[in-house]
């Protein structure tokens, strides 16, 4: 008995470790997308809930704001721009020694003036002579910054980085690219499973072969054809219609294969009864097959939708990179080059691109898994 419980313990332990490793990367992405952009660049996301120390270089007010008080010239202001949650730990007035003094303290400058800085960043700078500086004096701060979570990054990428438009583009590509192959595939699957005609097995064997043909084989010839059609009619070779049809073509073999297997598994007495009663193939399809196939449609539809949504290659080849056509994955990959160091933009954009799949996944998980398990049988 003791041995058994030890085995149980090991199972818990290993599974916990694996789950932990699996989740951490995504979790880090999510946290980072919610953090302030300066913090993302400087500290690890796992410190998001800690107070962090940042070094800042700020300037005092210009000499124009000085006023005279009892014979002394005074400049006051706040180096932290009145953000109440931050506080100054150390400060310095030379770049050589940026942490020279502990706030709050009074410092005498080279020209004899006195600089008094408090923890909240407010300062009072006094001098016997009038201030003459044009630019504010540089002050080096070490600032204690509290954790701050914000949706600012999402606003930034959706509105100013064009991700909102890309999101719509992705939908424009994905929805028809899911529906068209489903409909066409369903008709073909029905024909292949219940209609007798010459060469049926050969056609199905061909489809089995096409299941595994790499997409790459099609790209160059199709693009050439598109270019020719484009220049013949004087329209752009890269259009939504083009990519819908391309996705349809690439997804069709699997759709036909899965739907045919499903339809074939339905009891054939039903069809014979319907035939005897004089129903046409079209009637059988609409009245019997379609209602029965709803769950299979859901699984296969979800599979295709996610595949199209997550696709990069087809979108790169068949769509333009203009803002009105670029899809999320493609835009995200552009950003990887453009903003390679702006992790707040990258993490947020990646998360935006993941929202729809994750939602579909979590809400329709059962159908999704069923589709995948069936789909993998294509082998």
């Amino acid at each position: 008995m003791k041995h058994l419980s030890f085995g149980k313990f090991l199972a818990h332990f290993f599974l916990l470790i694996i789950v932990f490793i699996w989740v951490i990367p995504t979790f880090g992405l999510l946290i980072s997308s919610l953090r302030d952009k300066d913090q993302v660049a400087l500290t690890g996301w796992w410190t998001a809930l800690k107070h962090n120390e940042f070094n800042e270089i700020v300037r005092t007010e210009k000499s124009t704001v000085q006023f005279e008080e009892n014979g002394v010239f005074v400049i006051t202001g706040n180096l932290l721009k009145n953000s109440s949650s931050k506080s100054v730990i150390n400060f310095g007035i030379t770049s050589k020694n940026p942490k020279a003094f502990k706030a709050p303290s009074k410092v005498t400058m080279k020209n004899g003036s006195t600089f008094y800085l408090q923890k909240d960043g407010s300062y009072r700078w006094t001098s016997d002579k009038a201030f003459k500086h044009k630019k504010g004096k540089r002050v080096f701060l070490t600032v204690n910054t509290p954790p701050s979570l914000t949706l600012e990054n999402y606003k930034e990428v959706l509105v100013f980085r064009g991700l909102g438009q890309s999101f719509i583009n992705s939908l424009t590509v994905a929805v028809p690219s899911t529906i068209i192959p489903l409909i066409i595939g369903a008709f073909a699957a029905y024909a292949l499973s219940w209609m007798n005609f010459y060469g049926r097995d050969l056609i199905f064997a061909t489809i089995v072969c096409l299941l595994v043909v790499p997409l790459q084989m099609s790209l160059i010839p199709i693009l050439t054809v598109y270019n020719q059609i484009g220049s013949f009619f004087g329209v752009s070779a890269k259009s939504y219609v083009g990519i819908w049809l391309a996705h349809t073509g690439f997804g069709l073999p699997l759709k036909i294969f899965l739907l045919r297997n499903f339809i074939k598994s339905l009891p054939h007495e039903m069809f014979e009864a319907a035939r005897v009663d004089g129903a046409s193939h079209y009637q059988i399809f609409m009245k019997i097959i379609l209602p029965l196939s709803i769950p299979a449609f859901a699984s296969i539809g979800i599979l295709q939708f996610l595949w199209v949504w997550n696709d990069l290659l087809v979108a790169l080849v068949f769509l333009d990179k203009m803002p009105s056509e670029i899809v999320l994955t493609s835009r995200l990959r552009e950003m990887l080059g453009e903003f390679s160091q702006n992790w707040e933009i990258l993490t947020t954009s990646a998360f935006v691109s993941m929202i729809v799949p994750l939602f579909v996944f979590l809400s329709l998980q059962r159908y999704f898994i069923r589709g995948l398990v069936a789909g993998s049988v294509k082998g």
Binding site: V213, S218, L219
Partner: protein
């Protein structure tokens, strides 16, 4: 039926023959150049590198995914929070390769020694007293860091399929073995593994096909730099580099096709057996 056939013809069957034809022509597809594209490919260092890397991917990724998937499926069956664990491990399946690349690029992010590391991998290494590295720029080993991404995504698939298959094993068989005094380990190797052999093959081939076409991850992470080039990315490169070279692009595509032909034949044989039954 008719629209389906037309689309299949236009988008798959015609292109396959056209790609084969183009691979014997020059960069614009106008002049017949014999096997010169193939000669070029075999002598090109990028191409050789890609073939080598593709082989590496083909060996490592399906093996690891199958192994991990089976392990997780077995473990998850034994704990009460198994369903929850499986959901979490399966989640990357829903994420695009580009999205996953961003996630992992962030994990591998490198800052010069002495700075705060913001990538978690380097942070852990520094915490234990090691030196940070720019992981994706280390030749040869960086291939494995890219493979981790694919494994991270595809293990969920293997796990789900194994889970379904494990449930199909008749309880009586396991029960009988236990009564005979077989240990869990023996049961695993002598009953479960043979029972799952077909499932293992299915998962293996599915992931193999996927790996042959690996493109998004390499493009997004390194674009083939630092010795990580793979066939699909090289082909994409040649398709568009300097106006495009359809001859060389097609040749590279054909090599990818070559990889799936054994699987295609195996599929066909299975289909035939199914028909005869």
């Amino acid at each position: 039926m008719a629209p389906a056939l037309i689309i299949l013809l236009v988008y798959l069957i015609y292109p396959v023959s056209e790609t084969i034809r183009l691979s014997f022509f020059d960069n614009y597809g106008r002049e017949f150049t014999g096997v010169s594209n193939y000669v070029w490919a075999l002598n090109d260092s990028d191409f050789r590198q890609s073939i080598l890397n593709n082989f590496l991917w083909l060996i490592v990724v399906p093996t690891t995914c199958t192994f991990l998937g089976l392990t997780i499926a077995t473990l998850a069956d034994r704990v009460w929070w198994g369903v929850f664990a499986k959901t979490l491990i399966f989640m990357p399946m829903a994420i695009s390769f580009v999205g996953a690349s961003v996630i992992w690029k962030f994990v591998y992010e490198y800052r010069g020694a002495g700075n705060d590391q913001i990538g978690i991998l380097n942070a852990i290494i520094v915490y234990f007293g090691g030196d940070p590295h720019a992981w994706i720029a280390i030749p040869f080993w960086n291939n494995f860091f890219l493979m981790v991404i694919m494994i991270w995504i595809q293990t969920g698939l293997a796990m789900v399929i194994f889970s379904a298959a494990l449930r199909a094993i008749p309880e009586e068989t396991l029960e009988a073995a236990r009564i005979d005094g077989a240990s869990e380990v023996r049961i695993f190797f002598y009953i479960i593994i043979p029972f799952l052999s077909e499932t293992i093959v299915v998962i293996w081939t599915t992931i193999t096909i996927l790996v042959l076409k690996v493109f998004d991850i390499v493009l997004a992470m390194t674009n083939g730099q630092w010795g990580t080039e793979v066939l699909a990315n090289l082909m994409f490169d040649w398709m568009f580099r300097g106006g495009g070279d359809s001859g060389r692009g097609s040749t590279i595509a054909l090599f990818i096709m070559l990889g799936v032909i054994p699987i295609m034949i195996w599929n066909l044989r299975r289909f035939k057996m199914e028909q005869e039954r």
